[in-house]
């Protein structure tokens, strides 16, 4: 009696897995082929970059050498621009976390008056695409004399990242049992101690997820970086790499090499924290 059932279940499982593979393999290829091509360019000699081969006849790491040693005209500030990207992304992540954590704590745990309004306003900002706010933001930064200053980009990125971060953290925060706060308060904890000793440790997965989100948002930002920064020494790497497209004979192999290098840190960060990403970003998502 149980034999046919097992066989049926087995068949169903095989069918499900086959279906998943049928969907998964094309998605994997679709995702990996551009990255593979980028890598292929990066290891191809200049004259073979467009050869169309699946693997270069004479693979080389020379392009990486040129990028690392800043030997090309467009790459003279490569490390400085990489540092700018790192500093801006890290500062954005830290500031976003600071603002969002405190806001979420105040709204969710301290039940501050007007918290619901703040949440609604935070969500409302997503009705306006960030690109539409670029020029007003540019004008505002100009009024404050912040143009061509890395801080302008950090502030802009924090502005864009914070509403979503507050929303996510508030949802996660609502899931924490209120009894923990009550116990701490009975023990005489101040709101600050409650925040530092109870709230933050319990929120770590969500904080990592939100911090990674803000960091990657700033790391990949082009439009605001392009508008708000001007001097080559203050630019982030994505904007600086735009120089490679300034003529009709771009050194594509170097552009792809620099792009490949630039793609590595976020990939590493994502994989390091991947277990927090899904749990952290979906924490409280099903809460009514």
């Amino acid at each position: 009696m149980s034999q046919p059932l097992t066989l049926r279940r087995f068949t169903r499982n095989v069918g499900t897995e086959a279906g998943l593979l049928l969907i998964g393999i094309p998605i994997l290829l679709w995702t990996m082929i551009p990255i593979y091509h980028m890598f292929l360019f990066a290891i191809s000699p200049k004259d073979a970059a467009f050869s169309g081969q699946l693997w270069p006849t004479h693979p080389t790491l020379r392009n990486f050498g040129i990028v690392f040693h800043q030997e090309h005209h467009f790459l003279y500030h490569f490390w400085l621009q990489m540092w700018n990207s790192i500093a801006i992304a890290a500062a954005t992540a830290v500031l976003t976390l600071l603002i969002a954590t405190m806001a979420a704590f105040a709204i969710s745990r301290l039940r501050m008056k007007g918290g619901r309004l703040v949440m609604n306003l935070a969500l409302f900002t997503y009705f306006i695409p960030a690109a539409f706010l670029a020029v007003p933001m540019y004008k505002t930064m100009g009024m404050y004399g912040l143009l061509n200053n890395d801080f302008a980009l950090i502030l802009a990125m924090v502005t864009i990242a914070s509403p979503y971060a507050i929303w996510i953290l508030r949802q996660a925060s609502d899931k924490l049992p209120v009894e923990l706060d009550e116990a701490a308060l009975i023990d005489g904890a101040s709101p600050w101690q409650l925040f530092r000793l109870v709230y933050i440790p319990l929120m770590v997965p969500s904080l990592i997820a939100v911090g990674t989100y803000a960091l990657l948002l700033a790391w990949n930002e082009y439009l605001y970086a392009f508008l708000l920064l001007s001097k080559e020494t203050t630019l982030t790497l994505p904007v600086a790499l735009g120089n490679f497209l300034s003529a009709d004979d771009s050194p594509w192999e170097l552009l792809m090499t620099a792009g490949f290098i630039y793609a590595l840190p976020p990939a590493a960060i994502y994989y390091a924290f991947r277990k927090y990403m899904s749990s952290g970003l979906t924490a409280g998502a099903v809460k009514g």
Binding site: P45, R62, A247, D249
Partner: protein, 455 residues
């Protein structure tokens, strides 16, 4: 209390000093040069200017494709640079900015040096302002480019032909590459190579710049000197039909790669460098200059540098156009690249002073020549520089410019920048080659669009 007062006095002194400090700064936006030598020449000129005047120049450089977006954002936000230059201002924005009254009149700077300029080049900076209701120099010319023909001599030989076999007349010339060279090279190599590379992509500037040279070849004038449209003239329509027929013929005959209809600006260069095509036409001699750049590139291997030198000096030829269909020599359409000082600039006097300094021969020439021949000078003296006689490619550029030039329509009617930006010309080509519409119908549609936009 005394400390508070002292502090307030110090703050007041700092604040009062701030405007003076701001006046001694000049905010310059400049397109990023493709070669280090271009930027080095610009930096040297800026350094000289700073040493001479004590003014601090704040230079910001952007990629060519970013300059317009950045400039438009700055105009909208009211935070414009004091002076700006981009390789794209001429074709895309300068005419409209001048029309809208957003540019400073530079007549007082350019008039004293008027005789130094090649007249056609300077004339392109003479733009109409609807606000001032007058034409004036609302831009300054820096450098210019025109259309050249480039071909591989070794591929031509492989196809079984000598350079002396290339005809000098219009129809025969284009037929030669398509009907003789292409079968020859395919037979010799067994590969699906193409005789020509005709840029036809809607997203490229090469396509419309090339096509408009075909329009010139048929002596078609789309506007008069006052910008009035002439497209209702039956001769203009007939000329456009001939130009479009000739320009689309290589594609219809399979003599240019099928992908030419989607080519962006680098793609004909890439096809040429890969030796997929024997010949192409290109604004600037960037195709040949790429190989010269390789020859001088220390980061390449000795073999790659030698290959670059050989290609530049021996294998690639830069050629003038054949005679026009009527048998007269071609007059080349020149795209004069201009910079601007915005009307909203906070430091117009210093910006004009900087402009006058930069336009001096000693400063402008190294900047233009730093581009290894991609750009041709706008001043008569620089045009006669030994640089333009140094090799065969530069000599060809020089010869073309000496043959005579004509400006683009947008210098007379700025609305042609809209037609160029939407690439009405390449759309007409694509109607013929992809949608199989007759040339006559495509031209009628093109004329209707020209009248709608620029009428």
């Amino acid at each position: 209390m005394r400390r508070v007062l002292a502090g307030m006095a110090a703050v007041a002194m700092i604040l009062s000093a701030a405007p003076g400090y701001a006046q001694d700064k000049l905010n310059v936006w400049w397109v990023k040069g493709f070669y280090k030598s271009e930027d080095d020449a610009l930096y040297a000129a800026i350094k000289k200017y700073e040493a001479k005047t004590g003014v601090k120049v704040e230079l910001s450089q952007y990629a060519i494709q970013d300059m317009n977006a950045k400039s438009v954002a700055a105009l909208d936000a009211g935070t414009v640079p004091d002076i700006a230059y981009s390789d794209t201002y001429d074709v895309q924005t300068a005419g409209k900015w001048a029309f809208d009254g957003k540019l400073e009149d530079l007549t007082d700077v350019l008039t004293p040096m008027k005789d130094r300029f090649e007249p056609v080049a300077l004339s392109t900076a003479l733009l109409y302002s609807d606000k001032a209701k007058k034409k004036a120099y609302y831009a300054f010319p820096i450098k210019q480019q025109t259309l050249h023909i480039e071909y591989w001599k070794d591929m031509l030989a492989q196809a079984g032909f000598k350079e002396s076999d290339i005809p000098g007349t219009w129809k025969e010339y284009w037929s030669f590459w398509c009907d003789k060279v292409q079968p020859g090279i395919r037979k010799a190599t067994g590969q699906r190579l193409f005789g020509t590379g005709f840029p036809m992509g809607v997203e490229s500037t090469d396509s419309f710049q090339s096509f408009l040279s075909w329009v010139d070849a048929y002596n078609v004038k789309l506007v008069d000197d006052n910008g009035k449209l002439l497209v209702d003239d039956p001769k203009v329509r007939a000329g456009l039909v001939s130009a479009l027929t000739d320009y689309t013929a290589p594609y219809l005959k399979g003599c240019t790669p099928p992908s030419s209809t989607t080519w962006k600006d680098p793609d004909n260069n890439v096809a040429f460098h890969n030796k997929t095509i024997v010949m192409t036409h290109n604004y600037t001699i960037s195709i040949a200059a790429k190989w010269l750049d390789d020859a001088n590139n220390e980061s390449l291997t000795a073999e790659q540098r030698a290959a670059g030198k050989k290609a530049y000096e021996e294998l690639i030829e830069t050629q003038t156009f054949p005679k026009k269909p009527d048998g007269t020599p071609m007059v080349y359409r020149t795209a004069v690249k201009v910079g601007v000082i915005f009307e909203a600039s906070k430091n117009k006097a210093k910006a004009k002073e900087f402009l006058a300094f930069l336009m001096q021969e000693d400063n402008l020439r190294p900047y233009v020549e730093g581009a290894l021949g991609r750009w041709f000078p706008v001043t008569k003296e620089s045009q006669e520089s030994p640089f333009w006689q140094a090799d065969k490619h530069r000599k060809a550029v020089y010869t073309q410019y000496k043959q005579g030039t004509t400006p683009f329509e947008f210098t007379k009617n700025w609305k042609f920048t809209i037609l160029n930006n939407e690439n009405a010309w390449a759309k007409a080509m694509n109607r013929v080659v992809n949608e199989k519409v007759s040339v006559d119908k495509a031209v009628d549609e093109l004329i209707a669009r020209i009248k709608e936009v620029a009428g």
